[in-house]
Symmetry: C2
Subunit: 199 residues, 2 copies
């Protein structure tokens, strides 16, 4: 009997995610969300609840749409060291050029504002952190199997280190860091963990 929604919530959430990513969630007012989505305040609140819940939903959507594909690609890439190198090269490229240049990473940006924030948000951040570290670790194990990983290293610690490196790339890129500087930094780390390819 009842009326049905006149819009697609999935599309709307994508728009909100993009807006929060570009402008920063806390700095974005509901009025901007209304304008970006074309929805009315009624529909917005009826569908997503208040701003805090909307923010969590947008962050979850970011993980799903942006992070997940990249993490899965990294975890599934069995090449070893080249997989890690490719991950970072694509990361730097995405952060410094193209459609989302200088937007940083929504997950990374949220870290800075999550101090004292709702535990729900922090759990999402931790889950993402674990997922990225696990993907790194998988790539590292592949590298080790190929004899490209320097002996005596703790893969878990190395995975954590590389994950931290990725966060910093995201962070610095939003403040305008140069792509080649960031690349030189990550290359130095990856090189230090690996052995030169045999020929």
């Amino acid at each position: 009997m009842p009326d049905v929604k006149h819009f697609d919530p999935e599309v709307a959430l994508d728009q909100v995610m993009t807006l929060f990513w570009r402008r920063g969630a806390e700095a974005t007012g509901i009025a901007e969300v209304v304008q970006a989505t074309g929805l009315s305040r009624s529909s917005l609140y009826a569908t997503f609840g208040g701003k805090e819940r909307l923010q969590a939903a947008a962050l979850g959507r970011y993980l799903e749409r942006q992070s997940r594909p990249v993490l899965d690609a990294l975890a599934a890439d069995t090449r070893g060291v080249p997989a890690i190198t490719a991950f970072f090269e694509r990361l730097v490229a995405a952060r410094c050029t193209g459609e989302h240049a200088r937007w940083g990473c929504l997950v990374t940006n949220t870290h800075a504002t999550a101090g004292g924030g709702p535990p729900e948000i922090r759990e999402i951040l931790d889950r993402h952190h674990d997922a990225l570290r696990a993907a790194m670790r998988a790539a590292l194990e592949a590298a080790r199997a190929k004899g490209r990983l320097r002996p005596g290293l703790d893969p878990e610690a190395v995975a954590e280190a590389l994950t931290l490196q990725a966060y910093a790339v995201n962070l610095r890129s939003r403040a305008g860091a140069e792509a080649d500087v960031l690349l030189a930094g990550v290359r130095a780390v990856v090189d230090a963990f690996t052995l030169a390819e045999e020929r």
Copy 2:
């Protein structure tokens, strides 16, 4: 002839810096600043100008009071690798325990919110970045002189990498990361850049 200020602007700025550091500059209202400093709005605006200028001043004060001593200590520490290790151990300890636990770093936090922000802020961030990298590089050169730096490394790139690691420690600590996890990560990076001590 005129009246003089009834307060010490230096003390007030320290209080504002602490407040912005703990709560986040953007999330902090002028009302909170008034309460924390005990000043009236009149004195606040007459002394520091609007919020944007206050934010820049607080960030500058943070560099002076918090970052500078640590950076100078790192640059002046001629021990080489132990200097770098000590820097990171103190960093993790400061971020995860004590008075400022889970506050993160005001400079690092500002990175996430500086997207599209005033160029003045971004320049401060860049100056800090250069200073930290230079201090790292000085310590690396000392390590190289002692034969503890792995041969064939580009000190500039390694300094950049270590600087990025420090940012990530700051970032993750604010979201609640465990000290031992962060330490394991940075240890892996430092170890990878260095050679075991001779005995």
